[in-house]
């Protein structure tokens, strides 16, 4: 038996969209740490629909790491949430797309982010709110960066969600090893200490991501650590 490991192709329309945001740089777009996680989420995991962007029964995806949102905007345009031509005017005076996304300006954006350490705590509230209203189908995903975990507010959320078994919540940590003081023992261990179900995958491997992201653990929140090239060595 031959096992072939291939990097699944990122669709050409996604890369074209990304080049429209970034100004057609040759190397930068493919190196964006969140690109593959975002694409796999929207292409294969999330139950979201641009025609029913306010459906109470939709999954929620919260981009906490709001800086460098080029890949997010490209994915939203490729999946039909925003017009492609919005991508041509990033952060212009009349643009709806800034360097940090604003949910009041961009369809499909669940939270306005930028200041780090807010997405995961809000996601805890969203997960609780869905549960309190008997909405059991929607799942809440939140993407954070490994360096973003430095913010103490995340640890309030990790401890509480673990203690209360918030199992409609999945955190994806895109780990490009950019935390100044690192995470001794690994990021998954940090979550597991509070009772989370933790897995670690190759953040560039679409099959691994697609297999790990939908996994549910009854009575436990989940974290998927998606490892990519170390920051600065892409």
């Amino acid at each position: 038996m031959t096992v072939t490991t291939t990097r699944p192709a990122r669709p050409p329309q996604l890369m074209a969209a990304l080049r429209r945001v970034t100004g057609d740089e040759k190397h930068a777009p493919a190196a964006i740490s969140t690109l593959d996680v975002l694409w796999v989420l929207y292409d294969r995991v999330l139950r979201v629909d641009p025609d029913r962007a306010d459906d109470p029964d939709r999954d929620r995806f919260l981009l906490s790491k709001g800086h460098g949102p080029a890949a997010f905007y490209a994915v939203l345009a490729t999946t039909g949430f925003i017009p492609l031509d919005w991508l041509d005017d990033l952060a212009g005076p009349d643009s709806r797309l800034g360097h940090h996304p604003d949910r009041m300006l961009v369809p499909g954006v669940e939270i306005s982010s930028g200041s780090l350490g807010h997405g995961l705590p809000i996601a805890v509230g969203t997960a609780l709110g869905l549960r309190a209203q008997g909405l059991t189908r929607p799942h809440v995903y939140v993407l954070v960066g490994d360096a973003e975990l430095d913010e103490g507010s995340n640890h309030e959320a990790i401890a509480y969600a673990g203690a209360t078994g918030l199992d409609n919540l999945t955190v994806v940590v895109v780990d490009n090893q950019s935390a100044t003081h690192g995470w001794p023992g690994g990021i998954g261990v940090r979550f597991a200490a509070n009772g989370w179900a933790a897995s670690t995958v190759d953040g560039r491997d679409h099959e691994e991501l697609a297999a790990a992201l939908p996994v549910r653990w009854p009575g436990r929140p989940s974290v998927v650590v998606a490892r990519v090239e170390p920051y600065g060595q892409e």
């Binding site: 109470p56 809000i122 805890v124 509230g125 969203t126 709110g129 309190a132 507010s153 309030e156 509480y160």
Partner: protein
């Protein structure tokens, strides 16, 4: 006021499936029965005030109406960025209900005091309503009204209370009429103001809702005293001058003078009683009367 808040909020959770309560251990014992009755909509996150406010933002994003409660310095000062970003910037609201006010916890020291809370709320989006009730009877209606919409509301409860409640004093309610000045008392400042102005020829107006400030009511009340230009005295139970901007804007087209009294910016580093702090900040009837007389003197 805290007891009234807990009773009213518990009843709201019973009556309105859209409401939720989020706390961070403060008042957990008093809420125990409510927590048992509503395990899904009563949320105690532990001693995590940032999370408390962020959770409220998340709840509101799913369509719920969260009531968020803690001591004022932990709810507003500590979690300010969460209020700014996880409520305001997300375009959602909540009902923040604090206790402790400026110096209810006089014996606890600076850490448990928040004279700057209303000023901090004032730095946010103009959509905020701020209630500073002066009597427990004013509290239930304010809390119930807040459940009927999604806008942001701050309710500042205090153990300092007036003898009489005026539940309808959302706008300025004129309690005395005079000619030399218009004295506006906010919340628990009413009783000290009434004592300080006894026998003086001034108008005394009261409100438990400084935001939005009843500017029309102020213009009407001040106009009656404006023989030589409006003379207005603000007496607020939080940082002095917090509403000066609002009054200045309201009277921008008229000659006026304004004296803004309230809690000073000094960290007293003293304990004692709330009455001591009131005196040290110059908000007791004797000090108020002296300042008022100096300000409006020639006309009194």
């Amino acid at each position: 006021m805290r007891d009234t808040f807990i009773r009213t909020t518990g009843a709201l959770l019973d009556d309105d499936p859209r409401t939720a309560v989020v706390i961070a251990d403060i008042s957990a014992a008093q809420f125990a029965a409510v927590a048992r009755a509503h395990p899904d909509r009563f949320i105690n996150v532990g001693i995590r005030e940032q999370l408390m406010v962020s959770v409220a933002g998340g709840l509101a994003l799913t369509g719920l109406r969260p009531y968020v409660h803690s001591y004022a310095p932990f709810l507003v000062d500590r979690a300010y960025e969460q209020i700014k970003l996880d409520l305001d910037h997300q375009g959602v609201g909540a009902v923040l209900v604090s206790i402790g006010a400026s110096y209810d916890a006089s014996e606890e020291g600076r850490t448990h005091q928040s004279p700057g809370d209303v000023a901090l709320i004032d730095s946010l989006d103009g959509a905020w309503t701020v209630h500073v009730p002066g009597h427990p009877d004013e509290v239930p209606r304010l809390l119930r009204e807040a459940a009927t919409h999604d806008d942001p509301v701050y309710v500042r409860l205090s153990s300092q209370t007036n003898t009489t409640g005026y539940p309808d004093a959302t706008g300025l309610r004129v309690l005395r009429r005079g000619r030399a000045a218009t004295v506006v008392a906010v919340g628990p400042m009413l009783d000290p103001v009434l004592a300080a102005t006894e026998g003086l020829d001034v108008t005394v107006a009261y409100t438990h809702t400084p935001r939005p400030f009843d500017t029309a009511g102020l213009r009407a009340a001040a106009g009656e005293t404006a023989a030589t230009g409006d003379a207005v005295v603000l007496v607020e139970p939080y940082l002095a001058g917090t509403s000066a901007r609002v009054v200045a804007d309201a009277l921008a087209d008229r000659p006026h003078r304004l004296l803004s009294l309230g809690v000073t910016r000094t960290d007293l580093r003293r304990y004692g009683t709330p009455a001591d702090h009131q005196r040290w900040h110059g908000l007791d009837p004797v000090a108020l009367r002296q300042k008022l007389t100096e300000f409006a003197g020639p006309r009194l």
